[in-house]
Symmetry: D2
Subunit: 508 residues, 4 copies
């Protein structure tokens, strides 16, 4: 069967080569510091195997017609996009934050479009390799990280201008049987527990950056790959266990130390074929686009998790009915609803690309992701506001269970006779986990930067929005132009970019 | 034909009784101070008769199967809601702001649901009268104001508690052939040029407020109706005419001085039948709901009109490509897109009520309207920011055309050699019209309060949102509850309210 | 006596040459469309002659030792700065907005510093002329506009790069007895009723812009000066007169059509002496600085006027004690207090320049002005929010006094039995004047742009702030540097700029 | 000598009774988990003994005329307030956040005023005891926590209404020789390492809450006192040591298990003398006031620490000169400057109370603290924004120093050839410490809630602000009142409250 259980998945990654480095140790995927991250991936495998979630978490492969995990599916319809978004939201509720498995499949969707278009325009034969690789994914229910962010060196210089040419991942050698790559990718969430790494470019490349126009996929323990791992822990508990305490993430700073990639796993190679170089930017943008659309699923969930905690502690603190509290909750709920609606409408307005893969509306997707990013720190502020200082000053759990202090500690924790001291503690400790912890910091930064910060969405949006048509409204109203065409913004998907490409690079 | 031309409409209102009071004059509908308001209504009649707009501005009557104006249509499908919203947005672009004809039909949609439900529950016979009245609307392409806001007196007191019992509109006598009403309604936009007034309650009514549970429709020049009119003017021009200069609105403070309403035009009468009283609140809420959904069409257009002016003046000022300008434009565009997407998704999630009328999702509609209201002043600020001080300090037009100063004035107005002095002037004068004028103030206040201020949307949203289900997320994550039901917020439409009604008031 | 009455002032400007153009008419200073502006200036003359205000509105001339109007005084002490700021705030309360007479004296203060420094460095003899001119001001209680903003043409080009060289005011001829200037200045608030115009540069000038490095003073009706006037009116009332209705402003687009300025009134002339050119930027900046410090007096007053109206209408609407209302009032009050405190502390930290004139701290002055500018639109929003729609839809006054509708209109205006219908009307009509009128738009734009928009303050602030010292904190904390010098930001006044000047241009 | 060294201080607290509970252990003050907190206190002792800081960190005792630590001084002059504020700011720079030693002395200042006033009004003899206790502080350079926040139980009920009467700290017995208290205080920052605990009420008390009107001081290891301690750690480093890594805090949930307090250490006892009960609220408010004034010193420093890190990482990332970055830095700098100026002006407007102690202006102090609290989360957002994701995903330090990965890790960390890999790492690791760590969460919550959240400042401000005088501006402008008194807000200090007290409770 194409869908795998968590145990099947875990047993295979346990066997991988030890190429993870954590605080001086060289470890395998069973290192206990990866448990938090694994706990999240487990949720995705468990729900996919859960009949109650089948409708949402599985899909039908357009390659084989088989039932597969939605995390390995290429969007064939509006409904696929809507279900991906909803699945993301609901799974995030269950782990109190990002479900973290969308990066890989977002990259795969982008590759499905770009390799197809490239083949059409250049007569290359890349999509066939991609589809073969996709088949491997679907048959094995693969988890993968998308490695996009280069270390970048001096940010005002292009890749080829850097003092050290390796500061962007590059092809040092291109041979008939494959390529050798050197460089590093950072911010690789989940990479330490993924089966595979899908590497793609981070930006547009010029014809002086051909060596940097590279995309490929390799197993995460492949020869030459070294992962410097940064796990974030929540506060573990001894007595009052809860789902939230087990959650964590694992980031990787991944070094590609002259790694050989077989040709069939190479999806972009500007070094041997400079005509491919312009597709680097297209791929970078399209991955970001799919990933931002995924954010319209997860970020509403993060807002809801925080709003949920805020509403609960407001109840426990007895202030739930006050105007100030309801205003703040309404603000968080509004954000969640608006971001999700933006993602849904992006799906409704999606366009089928030539490859058959659906591409959601860009303006709306970016508008939604942007709002979410702008609000994330404010949402933490609201939770802290309604919780009060105790979420940052709670004594350790042991004090509530010890002979000497337990009775007194519990006595003074009481707020509402209807709510037990234990539940009071669970509530404040849960909030401590959510907003006063290492992971809280990671969630904040990820909520801002993941998929690109609001500044990036602004740039994307303004690069694609038809400002001249917008201006025609004022020109008409002010009498500068006689007529106002019936202006309704058309969906903005990569078609426009493709057309520009075709004009610039297309064969006749 | 059911669809009328502007001339047909104007000729009939010209004949109405003179019951308008403007600055001490008693005038008819052809008073020149109403021209700005009429100019807006003309747009709705002209476009409905314009073949290019037919698909959007006309609909098929569910009563007669005839082609009618969409401004007289009861929503029968998701597509109807989507088209209403889009039509509103596109017409607003053409008048540089609110198209102002949605109030009446929003009230009619609410009445179509409420009279039907009331009949079902109470065995009354009101919907039949409503449908007859609706037929009259559709056959004559009626324009109407919805008069909802009472003067309210002391706002912390209920209607029956006021020192003067007339401070909310009330039934002073209920007879078999009709009712006599007394009171006043304020903020009645367009009422001075409408054919009809549809009056509905502004709030929930208790069983001590039966006399105030009243809804009806009457011709705008009916015996006893007095309108104190407040028109807002833009700055008229002598030389450089433009669409924006002709736009205005006309507000009415409408007094009902013991007005008799024939029974067949009465849609709610708590005085003679106190069982009808609870429906007052339902009707108030449902009108607000349809009206807020209309705002998800007009408010994005207002944002776009302002963004359009901002983008144009940024170009003329030569600062269009700077980061700061693009950030601000992106912010306005995002707001427009998010509010419109909220309205669209409210339509996609709409529910068909028992009457056959579609009701959009409440949470999303309110979230969209709320964001729009919060942003309106900021949007004016951005236009002012990019325009610079000149939009507030431009010499009068005559100075640019006079022998003595014209040449110099035009010389010094030049900014970019590619843009003529005339267009420079048109741009700044247009912005002056939009943001430094009486009407600008009205647009700001309307953008904040129309359909209810953000505070009202917060109250509505929090009154309907299922906060307990939201809290279950935190309860699960924090270990307070064992299971997390797969929580997806269902559409929130009046069904829940109806069920509560049925439980409270329903016959067995 | 040096201090003049309003009548003395008005009688002398009445006699000026008719060089004002309003809507095609060529008029004198007694044109009724200037009454609103004159009403504001009257307040400054009346209070200066009012014994109750003597301590605040008068000062002792450092030239003559005589008692003079503070509007003609050069700041000699911290106390002078504090009193200027407080006088501004209190006078603004009385006119419901900007008192508008600070521009001229702000320019004079800047000139007092710059001419002195220039003489010191270049051996020129300008300060003597300046002091003579100042003496004329003080002896005659002069009102003047400072004309700073050029029309600027293409904003990305420097003055000498413009297609039309006149788009910045320039010296076309420099002779021993004076200069001839050509160009235009815009946004010249109060210029139509001022005795004098003090013209100064708007930006830094390079050595290719010598012709544009020019500052001088001339009578407002001087040969060759043409003012295109744009007055803004409030809504005049017939029955319920009030101070707010009489207030207005008058802006000028001032054309200098080859105007000869006698040498003793020339304060900067880069054409004949290019060594003076660098002082253009210094003067531009220093005027802006004094003017922003004045804004720390007037802007708190504007916030307070709006907060006052908001608090009053909240009381009248019966919602004064709600949390939401108090939050909003507290926000406005905080802004007022913080901006004023910033100005006061700028005074306490002021530095005495070599000329003897005090210069307030730049960072704080800019921080205060910036906050004020960012908040202005939000403050209008709060007033509209608490007032409700009626402030935009009030019938005209006549309807409340007519036989036919007066009684009914007043009956339905009642809200609180303790507050008469007349006062209800006064309150809403006053708010209409403040926020739904031409002048409201002007106040919004002025609140944003006057003295420079927040973007300008950001630029100024970041140009002067010692960022390297700030960074030393992080360097110390992160272990990059061993020691943290006891860093306390010193006052930032023009001394640093002067030192840079001296290094660059100083004689040896 | 009155001023002690850190060693003297540490040696005495090391000897204290073991009454601290940390994660199940019963420990003394030398437990290593308290090192972070001690590191901060050490800074205060070290600087007080540092000749370079003498002028700021020491003061002259008004009791003895001796040189003492400013942390034990009662403000006798405006200069004292200014120096306290500046000292706080500069010390906070050195520890990267709150200096944490102000609570105790803030409570002492409040007691100095309240005990004096109480004696004046009631003829009690408390101030004498207070002064004796103060002498002990000054002679021994005492560090103390102020324990104010009760656990509060149901927040909508008063102390005497709680189901468990102990949920607010109360006097269970009052005897001639002292009182016995029971209850708990939470959020007691630094209490685990303080010499003393000064306990005061958290709110106003009615005459049914006499038992809860209690204030006293006891040694922190006194019989019956149990502290449940919650330390927050930063990330310790192995190789690249830095000041920021050593910083931490220690919070206490302090239980008073029938603790006897000798009479001479009791400063408020409503149980034996109910006339003292009204002073509970006065004391609560006045401590909050002094503490908020301290926040006008520390919060600007926190903003500056964050701005400093933001500026540094912007430089390292090569984006320092972009508009977007400068806008964000300017915003943080403005906040710091405005909050500090608010505190300084509060000092300049301070009033000398009858006791001789200075009391700063309340409105301004609250306005400053409020702005700081509103901005704190946004400031973290800005740092994260400019740093990028790496601050949350940095590999552990060991990876940069190991044989196997060190060279590669350092190679790829390079950004700017002028900045070494080590400094790059120091910068990102420092930021990780500041914004992605347990302590970051604590700093966020403390920045919001410490001294009272913005909501509390709003309540205080609106409770004291003279709204009626403010309204008189609108009344005058709108013609409702004839005259506008020259309204300048007087300083708001406890005088007004005292006068109300005197009217209500004063002896005749």
């Amino acid at each position: 069967m194409a869908i795998k259980t968590y145990d099947e998945y875990f047993n295979r990654i346990k066997k991988m080569r030890r190429n993870l480095y954590i605080a001086g140790d060289k470890v395998g995927r069973d290192d206990e510091r990866l448990q938090g991250q694994l706990r999240i991936f487990q949720e995705t495998y468990d729900r996919t195997n859960d009949p109650d979630w089948e409708n949402l978490c599985t899909a039908t492969s357009h390659l084989t017609g088989e039932k597969i995990s939605r995390f390995t599916h290429i969007h064939q319809s509006v409904d696929d996009l809507l279900k991906k978004q909803l699945m993301t939201r609901l799974l995030c509720h269950r782990v109190g934050g990002c479900i973290m498995r969308c990066m890989g499949i977002d990259a795969m969707n982008a590759l499905s479009v770009v390799t197809y278009e490239m083949d059409q325009m250049l007569g290359t034969d890349t999509n066939k390799n991609f589809l073969k690789y996709l088949r491997y994914w679907q048959d094995n229910d693969i988890s993968a990280n998308c490695a996009q962010t280069d270390t970048k060196g001096d940010r005002l210089k292009r890749p080829h201008e850097q003092v050290d040419p390796d500061l962007y991942l590059r092809i040092v050698e291109s041979r008939p049987d494959g390529i050798v790559v050197r460089g590093a990718k950072i911010d690789n969430t989940t990479a330490p527990v993924g089966d595979e790494i899908v590497a793609i470019p981070v930006r547009f490349m010029t014809d002086r950056d051909n060596d940097y126009a590279v995309a490929f996929a390799i197993p995460a323990d492949w020869e030459g790959v070294k992962m410097l791992v940064r796990p974030a822990y929540l506060h573990k508990t001894k007595y009052l266990h809860s789902p939230v305490e087990g959650i964590g993430d694992a980031e990787s700073f991944t070094i590609f130390d002259d790694v050989f990639v077989p040709r069939e796993r190479v999806f972009l190679d500007g070094k041997s074929d400079p005509r491919q170089t312009p597709f680097a930017g297209f791929l970078a943008l399209l991955f970001a686009h799919y990933h931002r659309h995924s954010y319209t699923g997860c970020k509403p969930a993060v807002s809801e998790v925080l709003a949920s905690a805020a509403a609960l502690v407001a109840e426990y603190n007895g202030i739930e009915r006050t105007t100030a509290v309801r205003d703040k909750l309404a603000h968080m709920i509004s954000t969640a609803e608006l971001v999700f609606a933006a993602g849904q409408m992006s799906a409704y307005r999606a366009e089928k690309s030539a490859s058959g893969t659906l591409v959601p509306d860009e303006i709306l997707t970016n508008a939604g992701r942007k709002l979410a990013g702008e609000e994330i720190y404010n949402e933490f502020k609201i939770v802290a506001d309604l919780a009060g200082g105790l979420c940052a000053t709670m004594p350790f759990e042991e004090e509530f269970f010890s002979e000497e202090t337990g009775k007194l500690a519990n006595k003074y924790l009481m707020r509402n006779p209807k709510i037990s001291a234990e539940n009071q503690q669970r509530c404040f400790r849960g909030i401590e986990n959510l907003i006063v912890s290492d992971l809280a910091g990671v969630m904040q930064v990820a909520g801002l930067h993941g998929g690109g910060s609001p500044q990036m969405e602004t740039i994307t949006m303004m690069g694609r929005y038809d400002l001249e048509s917008l201006k025609s409204i004022a020109k008409y109203l002010f009498g500068i132009e006689k007529e106002l065409p019936k202006y309704e913004r058309p969906p903005v998907t990569p078609r426009a970019m493709l057309e520009r490409f075709r004009a610039l690079y297309g064969k006749t």
